[in-house]
């Protein structure tokens, strides 16, 4: 005991830069030495997947991806965006992208460019980037799309009149563009719930940074959010869903199969079987996340042992 206490006291006073070094190593090593780990898919993520998948091949259904974040949270949100876009391109779901902050505008191009690389999809036919609109128009556009999307949004990112684009055939308002997924590091999704959901009944889902995730559970229970992808874990889950179902190669040569809980539980995707790194970014990251979480837990435990030992020592000295 007498040896342990000074040791922990020394550890308590450890320079923070040593801790930083441990953090860096806890992330670098698992990224360099990859291992396969099982991604456990949660219901809120599966619900988003199922809803998007139900629009497959329909010309009178579309989804809107609203990018409400800047580069600072790309690590969590971009893999989600890429995975959802891939899902849409693979299953022929019409998809629109839109943002209200300048910093998000290039992120839409970034995600679209990664996702469309392997697919024969065309801007204006299979997808359309509505581009950046000033924040002052957030509510007007959000509400206006309940009446007529082409009228309120007017032009896409390339300045083309939206009403002239082939993708708009059969798409007028939220009745057709029936799902909005908002990617945010903020409470932006609440505006969709408060205005678009309450007034027009559009389905709203959140792709959210983990910081915000716990706050959204009340909205999941009420159905105001149909689903949610939380942080890197949510992205990893969606990547897995796309690999297990949307891009699955059937024995008859066709691609894609419907969602099934049983298949999901049994399936095991080896990371080395996924050729492109951009399609497994979140899952590779989750390996490092595992090690980092264990490290943080060990830090908390060690810190507390030190705290209690020195507290006990002080009490003994007092006596």
């Amino acid at each position: 005991m007498s040896n342990i206490v000074p040791f922990f006291e020394k550890m308590q006073a450890l320079d923070r830069r040593y801790i930083y070094l441990v953090v860096a190593l806890a992330i670098i090593i698992p990224l360099l030495i990859p291992f396969n780990s099982k991604t456990y898919v949660t219901e809120p993520t599966a619900n988003v997947y199922k809803m998007i998948d139900s629009y497959a091949g329909r010309s009178d259904r579309a989804i809107l991806l609203s990018f409400s974040h800047d580069a600072s949270t790309m690590a969590e949100l971009t893999p989600m965006e890429v995975a959802i876009l891939r899902h849409c391109f693979q299953r022929k779901v019409k998809v629109f992208t839109l943002c209200f902050m300048p910093a998000a505008s290039p992120l839409m191009d970034y995600a679209l460019n990664i996702a469309k690389e392997d697919y024969d999809v065309q801007d204006g036919i299979d997808y359309c980037n509505f581009g950046y609109k000033p924040y002052g128009l957030f509510l007007p556009i959000l509400l206006g799309m309940g009446d007529d999307i082409a009228e309120i949004v007017e032009t896409d990112a390339q300045g083309r009149k939206i009403s002239n684009l082939p993708i708009m055939t059969d798409i007028t308002n939220y009745n057709e563009m029936n799902l909005v997924v908002d990617f945010a590091a903020s409470s932006a999704v609440y505006s969709w719930i408060v205005y678009a959901r309450a007034r027009y009944g559009v389905n709203v889902a959140a792709g959210i940074t983990a910081v915000m995730a716990a706050d959204n559970y009340p909205y999941l229970q009420t159905g105001q959010l149909v689903g949610m992808l939380s942080g890197l874990k949510g992205a990893a889950e969606y990547e897995k869903l796309v690999d297990v179902f949307a891009t699955h190669k059937n024995p008859d040569g066709t691609i894609g199969r419907s969602y099934s809980k049983e298949i999901l539980q049994e399936s095991w995707i080896k990371l080395s079987d996924v050729d492109k790194r951009v399609y497994k970014t979140a899952r590779i990251g989750m390996n490092a996340q595992t090690v980092a979480h264990v490290m943080i837990i060990v830090f908390i435990i060690l810190g507390n042992i030190g705290f209690f030992l020195s507290k006990k020592k002080k009490e003994q000295e007092m006596m």
Partner: protein, 207 residues
């Protein structure tokens, strides 16, 4: 008058919007369309505020030769250069403007926030103490959620992700709902105060 007229505008528009929410009449739709078209025309000018504030802060530093004023000069140079590159070469993929975003703005923006990972780890070691029963509950809930989120939790026992999910869906949900109800009522009250002209801080200082 400098305060009264803006206040009258907010109150009038505010009540017209309340009416618009409940009454889907033609006149109400026309009012809304008018408001949208005007808002659209006002919207691009808000960016002036950001540019002016940045230019003023850094301009003053440069003119006073304040310590580290050179960095302020760099900020202003970057501001002008990035803006100009967008006007000269356009903003689409493959332009210098996009290059600046991908190789300067994006890496630095994401790195700034990633520094927090180091700070939270250091705080976990030095500050998160189970000083009381409540703090212990907080730490235990946090640890279960942390383990439940990563594949290791599932590998240890299927109960870990399930308990984590229960924590999120039951006690956490109740806690966040209690808080959200308070916040929701607070927001409604604040909106009402603005609508009735009681809350006026958005008008700024001066008379």
């Amino acid at each position: 008058m400098k305060r009264q007229i803006p206040l009258i505008i907010v109150i009038t528009l505010g009540f017209m919007f309340v009416a618009h929410t409940f009454i889907p009449h033609k006149a109400s739709v026309a009012f809304y369309d008018w408001w949208v078209s005007w808002s659209k025309a006002i919207s691009p000018f808000a960016v002036i505020l950001g540019i002016m504030s940045l230019t003023m802060v850094h301009g003053t530093k440069i003119s006073r030769k304040a310590p580290n004023w050179q960095y302020s000069a760099l900020t202003l140079f970057a501001l002008v250069f990035t803006g100009a590159s967008g006007f000269i070469w356009g903003t689409s993929e493959g332009t210098p403007f996009m290059w600046l975003f991908k190789n300067v703005q994006m890496p630095m923006g994401s790195t700034m926030f990633s520094l927090l990972a180091f700070h939270i780890a250091s705080a976990a070691y030095k500050a998160f103490r189970a000083r009381s029963a409540e703090a212990t509950v907080l730490l235990i809930a946090a640890i279960i959620v942390m383990l439940g989120q990563v594949p290791l939790g599932m590998a240890i026992s299927k109960w870990i992700p399930e308990t984590s999910s229960w924590i999120l869906n039951v006690p956490n949900l109740a806690a966040k709902r209690g808080i959200a109800l308070g916040v929701g009522l607070g927001m409604t009250a604040t909106s009402l105060k603005i609508l009735l002209g009681i809350e006026r801080t958005y008008l700024g200082g001066g008379d």
